[in-house]
Symmetry: C2
Subunit: 308 residues, 2 copies
């Protein structure tokens, strides 16, 4: 449905020259007065889908709600400036917490993360209702002098790079989103990157989206994918392999980047980040998602992941 | 709870010199790069509180969700530029509409209103869940060269003015929000206004908030309040008077303005709008909400309205 809806929006929403990057990327880029530009994104988390309020500290829910938005700014290599927060609270709160206490805990979870990235919580809207908790955040970022890092610029031959380790975030990491802001800003400033996004719905699905937006395909070297210890732990209790978890669990909030092969080699030699950066594939002419084995033979890889 | 929470936010959120107007006004004002400024607001509507999805065309729900946000920009005398939209849709849609169709109808309801005010729909986030419909919109506006119209500037002796007619919006007018953007821009540009806001929770409650933010009180002339035909119609079926409906129904989305008495006289003589503009009271030293009768005697008026 998500793809159908994005296509429908692209066909039906009026275009504006002020909208430099529109529907379908991790964030929009809007021309503002005095030649300023605004990178803007909105992301919502809901009880029952993104968290279970009776099983988690509401501070972590607040932290996640903010983290996923900052991760979208990181995906554009934009620097966070401010957010506004809309809370829809269960009228009677949750467990022993009344609605006011619940709202405070959510904000207390957001505040340290906002502070770490110098991001202002500029205001919001707080409502109660008979339903479950919804947190909707809109984040505004300052654009990098090199312009936004979009999904559409990868070229066949480019390397596909990823930060960190993937899979098994459901064991708890999905609450502790580490938006890769500093990493994105540093890489985008120092190296020639062609495209980027964050992994929210699973490596396989998101890599296929990155390739699609760039009108090419991408082939993954499965044996090179950095698998999280959580994916291995999870695989021990599921009927699935750890690589399968790394490919399709999602909520990793790591960066997925396209860079010319020679640039990627330099980045990997430099390893300029405090976290690992790994080459996991190559963009190819043939559209779609592919896997390459150690012998170099290629076959289709299903773009599994979380579909909204 | 809303007031407690706003007080808590003001005490606990870190301050930033970039946040020119913060929590507690109709919108925030954020300093941006190149001396630009952004007026930003977020407002959420929820099924069961703001609308009943089985009793209304979803286009009207979309129109209302956008309208209330544009009305918040009007309250600051800011010009709408762009919005982002977050939808949380019931997984199975509503009635005969599936979730995709429902999302499309909501956007189709927003688009004509956005177009009328030259406002870009810049993107959004669309999710489904097992709960009821939530629409959360964030609107960005350009600040007037005269600066923002805030709640805090009314002075004792100022006149209280209101646009349009009040009360009974529940009969249907609350879906057809007419954000008073053009009216606010024109008045703020042409006359010296001290303060302003929009009426969302009821004249009595909102007038008391305007006075409180300005650290003074306000006395209403009940016989001068422009009563909507809807309030009269509604009063015929309730045990309440039409003036009571005009005072406390809310969702009028009319402008409530403070202007020096002599300026107010000029505005009323000019009647520069296509809609009525009426003087309904006077700001006074003594904090609180008051009513003045035709004999000039003053007594307290309860600040009734919709508490979130």
């Amino acid at each position: 449905m998500e793809l159908d809806f994005i296509n429908w929006l692209n066909a039906n929403l009026p275009r504006s020259p002020l909208l430099r990057v529109g529907i379908g990327d991790d964030a929009a880029v809007l021309a503002w007065q005095n030649n300023a530009e605004i990178v803007i994104t909105t992301d919502t988390v809901t009880e029952g889908v993104d968290f279970l309020l009776d099983q988690v500290d509401p501070k972590l829910v607040g932290q996640k709600a903010l983290g996923v938005n900052l991760s979208d700014l990181a995906a554009m290599a934009a620097e966070p400036v401010a957010v506004v927060v809309s809370l829809v609270l269960p009228r009677n709160g949750s467990g022993k917490r009344n609605a006011l206490h619940l709202a405070q805990e959510i904000y207390l979870g957001m505040m340290p993360l906002a502070e770490r990235f110098g991001c202002i919580i500029a205001g919001g809207d707080t409502n109660t209702w008979d339903g479950r908790l919804v947190i909707s955040i809109t984040a505004l970022g300052r654009m990098s002098p090199r312009g936004p890092l979009t999904r559409g610029g990868a070229k066949p031959g480019d390397a596909l790079l990823v930060t960190g380790h993937l899979g098994g975030s459901i064991l708890g990491r999905h609450f502790h989103v580490e938006p890769r802001i500093r990493e994105a800003l540093l890489l985008h400033e120092r190296y020639e990157l062609h495209a980027g996004m964050d992994i929210s719905d699973g490596l396989a699905l998101d890599a296929s989206r990155l390739a699609k937006a760039s009108r090419c395909g991408v082939a993954l070297r499965l044996d090179s994918i950095p698998i999280s210890p959580d994916a291995i732990k999870l695989a021990a209790t599921t009927c699935r392999t750890s690589i399968d978890h790394a490919l399709s669990d999602g909520e990793d909030f790591e960066l997925l980047l396209a860079a010319p092969a020679i640039v990627a080699e330099q980045i990997l030699a430099d390893q300029p980040l405090d976290i690992p950066l790994t080459r996991i594939g190559t963009f190819v002419e043939q559209t779609g998602l592919w896997q390459i084995d150690q012998q170099g033979s290629t076959k289709p890889l299903p773009p599994t992941g979380y579909e909204h």
